[in-house]
Symmetry: C2
Subunit: 246 residues, 2 copies
């Protein structure tokens, strides 16, 4: 029995989320476990770097599982892909080192959030982006994003995995880029709170649209009792790009 | 009663095609007619610049319809969008000149076909592209595409709308472009035969992959009895970009 680590990509639109549920709902975890089942896997559950919510996409989700497999790991990747639907793919499979755990061994996570700045609905682009209109002030959004970088208490923007856990997180990068009507926000941290990226994006976009002042966001940092009162950015714009290990 | 012209965009994935069918299948035409029905439209059928096949996308489909509408055409666009599902959008509505017909008045059509050159499946990009692997010879594909430009008998690559109609078409542009792993093929003509773009793309890709020699494609041009024997490129890579009128 060997321990394997796979890099997974998925279009989250038609899933109720990563995590398998008791009912019949379609989940990423359940879909991968079904494909593994056809290759003889009979474990309780595969382990992921983290759960993504309903509608959130991934290009760099990492899962680990134990499997009796006599062939090369490339053959395992192909065999898994042959058993997966169009909206989930395995990009790479490697034997994992002893004690590897996709969540606890992760050193860093990278998410990207995509905006589409357009006055009209776009069926061919809105599957993977949040459309905002009429225009956003990219400089103001970047200046506010700069203030997020570093070790802060992000209690205002999300809750920790464990009820009493710390809400301090170390943001390593928070970068906006523009290509035409498409704006992307790359954010990297050692770990994130639940819904933290989508709340931060909503707050930054509120600044970009002129609905909030930059100070109204930065004043929430390092205040354990503050709460972001605005919306949460839609799931469709968010993608888990990569999880980094030593 | 006024005649209106609308520019329509759609994600063709979840439609059985543009044209309304007798049965319950989901079509673009049927979906737009339903939305128009809620605004008081009671015509027999809206008219389009042409039918797109199941799975083919559009950013520039043009439809015309008669409607009793007292307000500005911008308000009509918004009212239609409010009644359309996520995968269809109206981008613009204008009063059409007398005698305007989306198909017969069209002077030129522009299609784009998108390839993804990648060794692995990609759930986030394959909805709008045909994945080919391992690599293609772009120069050979462009050289072959160059030979398509001009007035030729394309009988080998498609059939005309009417059984006895001409198979001569005038191709004005046939251009490959590359951005990273994404190759796009822009082709413009006064009009196209059924499946002509997808057969031409399949033939060009066969050249690019080294499966066919360029001459095996060009020899089929201007020969009314020749037939392209290879595959047809998948619908998901094709998008009707624009229809041009005087």
């Amino acid at each position: 029995m060997g321990l394997y680590k796979s890099i997974i990509a998925y279009d989250g639109t038609d899933f109720v989320g990563y995590q398998r549920q008791a009912d019949e709902h379609r989940t990423v975890q359940g879909t991968i476990e079904q494909a593994l089942g056809k290759l003889g896997w009979s474990g309780n559950a595969i382990i992921a770097s983290g759960r993504t919510d309903a509608g959130v996409h991934a290009r760099g989700q990492v899962v680990a599982f134990e499997l009796e497999w006599a062939q090369e790991s490339d053959v395992l990747t192909r065999a898994l892909n042959a058993n997966l639907p169009r909206d989930v793919a395995v990009w790479d499979t490697q034997p994992a080192p002893d004690g590897f755990h996709p969540r606890f061994s992760a050193r860093q996570r990278h998410y990207r959030y995509t905006l589409l700045v357009s006055s009209h609905r776009d069926p061919l682009r809105e599957r993977y982006a949040w459309r905002v209109t009429p225009t956003v002030d990219l400089q103001a959004m970047q200046a506010t994003a700069d203030s997020l970088v570093g070790r802060h208490d992000f209690a205002a923007f999300g809750r920790p995995p464990k009820p009493e856990g710390t809400t301090v997180r170390n943001v390593l990068r928070a970068q906006w880029d523009q290509v035409g009507e498409r704006l992307s926000f790359d954010i990297e941290a050692e770990a994130f709170l639940y819904h933290m990226v989508r709340r931060l994006v909503a707050a930054l976009v509120a600044v970009g649209l002129g609905h909030s002042r930059p100070e109204s966001v930065t004043v929430l940092l390092d205040d354990p009792d503050a709460r972001w009162q605005g919306a949460i950015a839609p799931a469709c714009g968010l993608c888990l790009e990569a999880v980094i290990y030593d």
